[in-house]
């Protein structure tokens, strides 16, 4: 009864092309995602970075097919293992959820049902997709609890979410999401609600599980430190659009988009000169109902219109950076200007570091 789509011999496991998601609300149409594309292979981790309202969570919910079709207009393609999930019926995509692709969330306490034991919830996740006896499912669930590092899994199986600590709850969530051995795991701010020492444990766990199961992971976060630690590729989103995309080295060490610069110089370093002021991004994130025309970042960008460019009129396309394979950026500024600015100005503040190549 397995409905997992067979992955094509080559090519990425997840391929998102020109995804657009719109919600109609009383206040107007929300363009939550506006033309986002990316690919992800098995065994690799993509970090999607952005602030609230950047469209990062909406993107992941679209992949899982969790939006209410009545109030959501979606276009583009989301190929999971070769199948375009946007074209699937609700029942077909439901069979993929939790099976081929699974998800964990920010707050494990509110994401687990308070009335059911951890064990029952995990068994349920297994039995939706596997026609096995309760006893068999239970055995498998206890094995999973053990695998994610929950001590006394037999006893914990019988307990309710409120009897777990925050870190243990997130481990249980991970056990539940991985019980069907999914090829794609989407982790939406999985460690934001946790303390740093627990966060470190959970990130380690995700890394080791990824090695074991060879799954593709999308990690959605606002924390560039987490991204630096676990991501192979990084997608920076702003106002529902992808503004920079590349591997971690490219995006974090040779950033090309003024918004990414803003993020890097907003974050204090644990090594650098602590008396130097941070350079924040001015203003506030835009409303998705009423995006600024042109580049939606231009009202907050300190480099906007420098070359008399069309920043306030034309939406910049996501284009390859010259000489860097796979590094894409959506900005009207000239390549050389951006490279120079990064090396000379940005790399001196916050947590920005210059990659060896650029230096």
């Amino acid at each position: 009864m397995t409905t997992s789509p067979s992955s094509p011999a080559s090519g990425p496991y997840l391929d998102v092309k020109d995804l657009r998601v719109r919600f109609s609300t009383e206040d107007g149409v929300v363009r939550a995602v506006d033309g986002v594309s990316f690919q992800l292979e098995r065994g690799k981790t993509l970090g999607i970075v952005g602030e609230s309202g950047s469209g990062k969570s909406v993107t992941s919910m679209s992949i899982m097919g969790l939006h209410n079709p009545k109030r959501t207009a979606m276009s583009g393609e989301i190929r999971v293992g070769g199948t375009d999930v946007l074209k699937l019926s609700e029942d077909k995509i439901r069979r993929l959820r939790g099976q081929a692709m699974a998800m964990i969330f920010q707050d494990p306490l509110s994401s687990l049902h308070p009335y059911y034991t951890i064990g029952r919830q995990i068994v349920e996740a297994y039995r939706v997709h596997h026609d096995v006896s309760k006893a068999k499912a239970q055995k498998r669930a206890i094995e999973m609890l053990d695998r994610v590092g929950i001590p006394q899994p037999q006893k914990r199986f019988e307990q309710y979410p409120h009897e777990f600590s925050g870190g243990m709850r997130q481990r249980a969530m991970i056990a539940m999401s991985l019980i069907n051995d999914p090829d794609l795991l989407i982790a939406d701010e999985p460690t934001t609600a946790l303390d740093v020492t627990v966060q470190a444990q959970i990130l380690d766990l995700l890394e080791s599980l990824q090695k074991e199961f060879n799954s593709a992971i999308i990690l959605i976060t606002h924390d560039l430190g987490v991204v630096a630690q676990v991501a192979d590729d990084v997608l920076v989103m702003y106002g529902g659009r992808a503004v920079e995309y590349g591997n971690a080295e490219q995006v974090l060490r040779a950033a090309q988009m003024p918004y990414t610069w803003g993020l890097l110089s907003s974050i204090p370093s644990v090594h650098g000169d602590s008396d130097a002021d941070l350079v924040p991004i001015k203003g506030n994130p835009p409303s998705l109902i009423n995006l600024p025309p042109g580049c939606s970042f231009h009202p907050r960008c300190r480099y906007a219109m420098l070359n008399g460019g069309p920043c306030d009129q034309e939406v910049p396309e996501l284009l390859p950076v010259q000489g860097e394979v796979g590094h894409l950026v959506a900005c009207h500024l000239p390549d050389q200007f951006r490279k120079d600015t990064y090396v000379n100005e940005i790399a001196q503040t916050g947590v920005a570091v210059v990659s060896e190549e650029l230096a």
Binding site: R94, R97, A102, F105, S110, S111, L112, Y115, V128
Partner: protein
């Protein structure tokens, strides 16, 4: 659980004691003479009045009267003295000042009527409320949702004494489908019991279901936006499993609480419904007794209503702990 139960039972006894004392005091604070009630409309000779006052123990200090009353409730007592003395076995709630009938008998007559009305109506309002409210929430913005909103509003502004007579006029006198509302013991004739009470059930049930529809709809909408419902969907559960096993299960908890308390309150008497349909339940007895300053009946009905509310509270708390594992009863 047991510890909780004992503590709550002790608390219940204390509450009932406080209520009985205050009812007693209130009654004696009223500037009226119950002896006149006993005499009826006749003008009583002074000696008769004195005799009645003495027989009722009204010449005793208040505290003695109260202890006598409580003694009667638990072990029985003798009321009056000499040839008019009456043996009143436990549970003795005294005799009606007006008719001399034992209050216990009056309660025994009225209680099944009130209970029948309330339980039947509760089935109606819970069924309509939960089904309509949940269905509306699941199809938010649809036709059914709009209907449910209108229904809640209409029901909330409708009155029992308006809807009741209309239903009677249509179904009893107009179409002749139903007999006039009466109470028949279900032990004697269950069919007659049901047909006789169906209009009160529908009337009280429909009006209360307006509130319950709105409540269930709001609860269900709130739960549907909970993170754990999203998790359930992300696991690949079917819509039915998500809606019923995950969302409804959580949405129903506060409704259980309110329904339990509502039923408890109503069991003490549903005056308007009883009056509208001319059914002799405890509610009506209570109102008549208050008008007549008929202390023994007032006392008994007030204590009865209080008991129901206190018991309903304990039951609700225990149900809550059974439904929600986060609630601990210790």
């Amino acid at each position: 659980m047991l510890r909780f139960f004992i503590r709550r039972a002790l608390l219940a006894v204390l509450t009932l004691f406080a209520i009985s004392v205050s009812t007693f005091l209130l009654f004696f604070a009223v500037p009226a003479n119950p002896v006149a009630t006993m005499c009826g409309n006749r003008i009583c000779p002074e000696s008769t009045q004195k005799q009645i006052t003495h027989d009722l123990g009204l010449d005793q200090p208040l505290i003695t009267q109260y202890t006598e009353y409580m003694k009667g409730v638990f072990v029985g007592r003798t009321i009056g003295s000499g040839p008019t003395a009456k043996e009143c076995p436990a549970p003795c709630l005294g005799y009606s000042f007006r008719t001399g009938q034992p209050v216990w008998d009056i309660i025994k007559n009225g209680l099944p009527v009130s209970m029948s009305i309330v339980i039947g109506a509760a089935v109606v309002w819970l069924t309509i409320g939960l089904v309509l409210g949940t269905a509306a929430a699941l199809r938010r913005g649809g036709a059914l949702d709009k209907f449910s909103v209108g229904f809640s509003l209409g029901g909330a502004s409708m009155q029992i004494f308006v809807l009741g007579p209309i239903l009677v006029a249509v179904f009893v006198y107009g179409l002749g489908w139903l007999p006039r509302p009466t109470y028949t013991s279900p032990l004697v004739n269950p069919l007659a019991w049901a047909t006789g009470l169906i209009l009160p059930w529908v009337t009280l049930g429909a009006i209360n279901s307006a509130l319950y529809t709105r409540l269930s709809r709001a609860q269900m909408l709130e739960t549907l936006s909970e993170d754990y419902v999203r998790t359930a969907r992300a696991k690949g559960l079917t819509r039915r499993e998500v809606n019923y096993r995950h969302a409804l299960r959580a949405a129903i908890t506060p409704i259980v609480t309110i329904a339990g308390l509502d039923i408890g309150i109503n069991l003490g008497g549903v005056v308007i419904t009883e009056t509208t349909f001319n059914l002799q339940g405890v509610g009506r007895y209570a109102v008549q007794a208050i008008n007549d300053l008929n202390l023994p009946i007032v006392m008994a009905t007030v204590l009865l209503a209080a008991t129901f509310i206190v018991v309903a509270n304990v039951v609700v708390d225990m149900l809550y702990a059974t439904i929600d594992p986060r609630v601990k009863l210790s």
